[in-house]
Symmetry: C2
Subunit: 359 residues, 2 copies
């Protein structure tokens, strides 16, 4: 990863905004700019970037060894024992410069705390816009993370059998994700069968799918700090006609939307393509979420692929296409692939079949 | 769970602060107050609580089914398709009341967005102080989550053998966590062997522990929405004298600190008890983090068990005791138990041995 290039690009952006520097708190943004490892929920690293490209990463003893072995695009500054990174930042920043900050990440309380000492200005999505367009190194990691998904779901399906619970299905799948090289989970695995399938975020439970049940399985591996994301709906025994028709409708909606994906088309238009198919098949009102989202260091990042996003997609965007139908009291179905937007088209990173699978 | 009691307690607190109500955005706080399921990273539910105890939970179509089947302590308000929960909140809140908000959770940008419409006042940790003292129902769930850990590590150790990679160790452990009933992970599993053990947050890698290596394994199950947390350091082949002495020192430090835990003693004092043992054994400077933290709906919550916390522990606090020693270039060791503070003492929820284990 060319972290130096990223920090320089940020520094140019900062200069272009007439700022003297930026204070970065978001662990995902710090990872993007330096490669510093992070744990979800963060642990108070602070990255200080100056408009001339100088960068200091303030870390506590806890993370000093790992950051020191990993990061070379910024000076590593270790706090003294129990000193807070913010106190060390105060010693580093001289005079009273105008500094950009992540107004969508920094809490109201933290902002108030530091606003007295630094002249703060919103960064207004400067880093998010950089992260939205993945470079070749990032796409390679996401592709690898997705290939872990593809191999793991194939092996997990081989071991699935009637009588297993949702928890046991998750156990098999996650076991194979690890064996295929997953470094950590991109998000909490969803396994939701039969009527529980109408919970788009349903965590696995002790429920054992009955014959004919649809089982929504939504999961993702992280590799090299980057996420992947995939959903398949698998059947335990032959589904009845209504479920089968719904599956075919969701599949058609997904295929139709994927055809539309290219640079220059908006997230709203791609979403509409899928929605039109489901409307025509009488399932539009059961498609209760947007079509997809960007994926990268975070499982949900820009761009949104849904009715609210009029902005054209651009090469390097990595997005999910995941139409669904959720029939209250009955069943849920969702099929999700991961795509990279390219000049004049796209590449589907998901290789696993979307044909109907019966266990 | 008695969610009604919690909302009433919050309403009293709001009234006591002279406020007309509160807007709650934090998914963990909403879960605590209503039982509403949530995915880490959140999806924009909003809970509006009035000083008279009235409560409305605003959800999108996406979560409506699951929330509707789960929550009965608040009125469920569904947004229209693509309507943002915040827009619906504006329609619900009449006049211009003074409302508390979570100043440590709400971003600076979101605060600015809503500060124009509502008179906002910081809640100043009102909900966090409630969450810090767990009731019997909460402790039962955490105890169950910890018993899942205890059984899973025992089974995982049975399947560990020389030549396995850190990733394979994680695969075995997580497989058994699921089989024992884990609903989701409390956090990303840490497996760090040999010199990687000096990374307190080291994610599992393809490294295969060599003979004599210490392997730090830090993991936790969620059950019923509550986290557990546990660390053991296992040896692949007999450790040499230096490693063995360090293990015994960390173990003694942990045992000493656990003896100190009771209501009325501060986190600082408990931390000092462990630190004193490691100092005496010449390892104090390698203990680079605080001794522990509170555990509940979040893996890290109040109270801190470290030098910065002078406040006395109280019955119902659930805390980790996890001293460690990290010798750069050599090895890391950590042992962690989960305790509930009781009147005049504590109960250790961790049953698994802390004696040295050699694979």
């Amino acid at each position: 990863m060319d972290y130096r290039r990223r920090i320089n690009e940020l520094a140019s952006g900062i200069e272009g905004m007439g700022l003297d520097g930026a204070i970065i708190f978001g662990p995902e943004n710090i990872h993007y700019l330096t490669g510093a490892p992070f744990v979800r929920g963060g642990y108070g690293k602070i990255l200080f970037v100056k408009e001339d490209g100088g960068a200091s990463l303030i870390v506590t003893d806890l993370d000093y060894q790992e950051v020191g072995d990993t990061v070379d695009s910024a000076e590593i500054v270790k706090t003294d024992f129990m000193e807070r990174p913010l106190d060390r930042l105060r010693k580093i920043v001289k005079d009273s410069p105008r500094l950009g900050f992540e107004e969508g990440i920094v809490s109201a309380a933290l902002k108030e705390k530091i606003a007295g000492e630094f002249k703060l200005e919103p960064l207004s999505g400067l880093i998010e816009r950089m992260r939205e367009r993945k470079d070749a190194d990032e796409i390679a990691l996401i592709e690898r993370a997705q290939s872990i998904n593809d191999r793991a779901i194939e092996k997990a399906i081989e071991s699935m059998k009637e009588g297993m619970s949702e928890l046991e299905i998750a156990a098999e799948l996650e076991y194979h994700l690890r064996k295929e090289g997953e470094e950590s989970f991109a998000f909490e695995t969803i396994v939701a069968s039969g009527p529980r399938g109408v919970y788009p975020h349903g965590m696995p439970s002790t429920r054992r799918p009955s014959r004919g049940d649809a089982v929504v399985i939504d999961f993702g591996a992280k590799y090299g700090g980057y996420c992947s994301d995939m959903t398949r709906t698998i059947f335990f025994g032959n589904p009845d006609g209504e479920v089968r028709r719904a599956y075919e409708a969701v599949k058609e909606a997904q295929e139709r939307a994927i055809e539309f994906v290219r640079d220059g088309i908006s997230g709203r238009e791609v979403d509409a393509a899928a929605r039109e198919v489901l409307d025509r098949r009488g399932l539009g009102k059961f498609f209760v979420h947007g079509l997809g989202h960007g994926v990268g260091i975070e499982i949900h990042e820009a761009p949104v692929v849904g009715p609210s996003n009029e902005k054209p997609l651009a090469p390097g965007n990595v997005i999910t296409i995941e139409p669904g139908a959720y029939l209250p009291g009955k069943f849920g179905i969702r099929i999700e692939d991961l795509l990279v937007v390219e000049n004049g088209g796209k590449r589907n990173l998901t290789r696993f079949t979307r044909e109907l699978i019966v266990i």
